[in-house]
Amino acid sequence: MTFGEIEPGAGLKSALARPPADVLARIDASGLRGRGGAGFPTSLKWELAQKSKGDKKYVICNADEGEPGTFKDRVILGDFADMVFEGMTIAAVAIGARHGIVYLRAEYTYLRGHLEAVLQRRRENNLLGENICGREGFDFDIEVHMGAGSYVCGEETALIESLEGQRGEPRNRPPFPIDTGYLGNPTTVNNVETFAWAVCILAKGADWFKRLGTEKSTGHKLFSVSGDCRRPGVYDLPLGITVAELLAEVGGEDAKAVQVGGAAGQCIPRRDFQRGIAYEDIPTGGSIIVFGPGRDMLRVAKNFLEFFIDESCGQCTPCREGAPRLLEGIEMLHRGDCSMTYLDELCSLGETMQLASKCGLGQTAPSTFLSVVQNFRDEILGRTGGN
């Protein structure tokens, strides 16, 4: 993995050797986009947080990793925790923050002791705390906060609600966290992996980062690969790689479909395996689930819908009411008694959910249903296996 090749501390040293504006410029030149899934330009988010008025600013690391099929953040936190904290410290330099928070999902509680130990060592080595690395007035420290079992808390405004001791219900945006974030203060929320890449970029330069990837999706990304393949695990690969190339890498050449981006992502059928995995084509936070020739795609769609129904915060109608209707539809298809007319109705309901839901959960909940209905009609219509 690239992260293993970076000299510890080189990124922070480089950040402290230049004015904050240059740190931002370097990240900007690299084209780094958020590794959590949405792909928002990291330099722009940091610049807005830097410009936002307020003397108490926060850097938050989103370690809620709840997207089905994603586990690369767990691996980064386990093997490269120092890099994540170094990246958060670089963000603090860039935006002028003194406080950092890692929001760690409850399911990863077993990582907490390790993270606290690494933080303590960084404090002892003057990499956190007051006058960091001997720079007068540069104070920054990081706390770990635990989640309590909720996927939607990975959405950045829900995450902030949760940190404030509330139910994890997404807020209306705007205002954005960069202006009104944690306790009303300017806040940048970034994915675990985004911070680690920021370190690499400061250490090795923007051109080094850009040498791989595509024009709009620069650099490498970590992929979490699971399902029907011979070599599941975490892969460090350039963005823009085609689904077919990725499958060859992981030993899943005979797949009939691949889920890119988790339950919130897209289900890519075999005929589209030449498409590229990149923000401009098939975007992803890194979850790749391979479905072999024998898999029942209806079972896949059902599993994802059950996930969304279980995790919806219930705040808005399209998501709360829509997802159970789609699940009913899947059960009808399974029994073999869904008419084409009704299926079309369900598809337009799915499209309404995509448009009218308040947050990404409801907006993406119908996507696998829609792509399975679109791409696997022969497999799902006219079933006779039911009761």
Binding site: T109, G147, A148, Y151, G165, R167, P232, A263, I289, F304
Partner: protein
């Protein structure tokens, strides 16, 4: 609940509120600690916490009910959470589930009468390359097979009776 027990819980909660701060943003910390120590957050505990933080008990309840790792009803000393999401499903989680039910004599969502085990579903645990996966309290087990279930439960039973569980919680006396 006996009066002395109530008083003891009240003092304990007051101490937690002092430790984490009398702010709304301390609420989750406090609730997580109560859950860890008492295996649930009782109505009475919610009321006391609300009083101490000067918020309405309904607000505390609405937070507790939102999060799947916070419970109003007493959970077992060992909470087993089996992942039901897609890759673990494809890796055979149904068989593991059945064997867990067989060996514990309870269904998902239930707690054994002796209060030792609760059985629950979880969504993706971030172990998808090594499914089926389950959590026993904070500890993760991967590539679980029906055959391995017995050993996992035995390991818990052996921890029971000594002074600390696998994640360092004090046992009830």
């Amino acid at each position: 609940m006996l009066l002395t027990e109530r008083e003891r819980l009240h003092d304990e909660l007051a101490e937690l509120v002092t430790r984490y701060g009398r702010d709304r943003s301390s609420l989750l910390f406090i609730l997580q600690e109560v859950q860890r120590r008492h295996y649930h957050i009782s109505q009475y505990a919610m009321q006391v916490i609300a009083d101490l933080l000067d918020i309405h008990p309904v607000e505390v309840h609405s937070v507790v009910s939102f999060y799947s790792f916070l419970d109003e009803r007493p959970q077992g000393q060992f909470v087993i959470r089996l992942c039901r999401t897609i890759t673990c499903d494809m890796a055979g989680k149904d068989h593991v589930a059945r064997q867990l039910e067989n060996d514990l004599g309870i269904k998902f969502g239930e707690t054994t009468p002796d209060g030792k085990f609760s059985l629950d579903w979880a969504n993706c645990l971030g172990m998808c390359d090594r499914g089926p996966a389950l959590l026993v309290n904070q500890q993760v087990h991967t590539q679980v097979t029906p055959e391995k279930v017995h050993g996992i439960l035995q390991e818990c039973r052996q921890t029971f009776g000594v002074h600390a569980t696998s994640d360092g919680r004090e046992t009830r006396t």
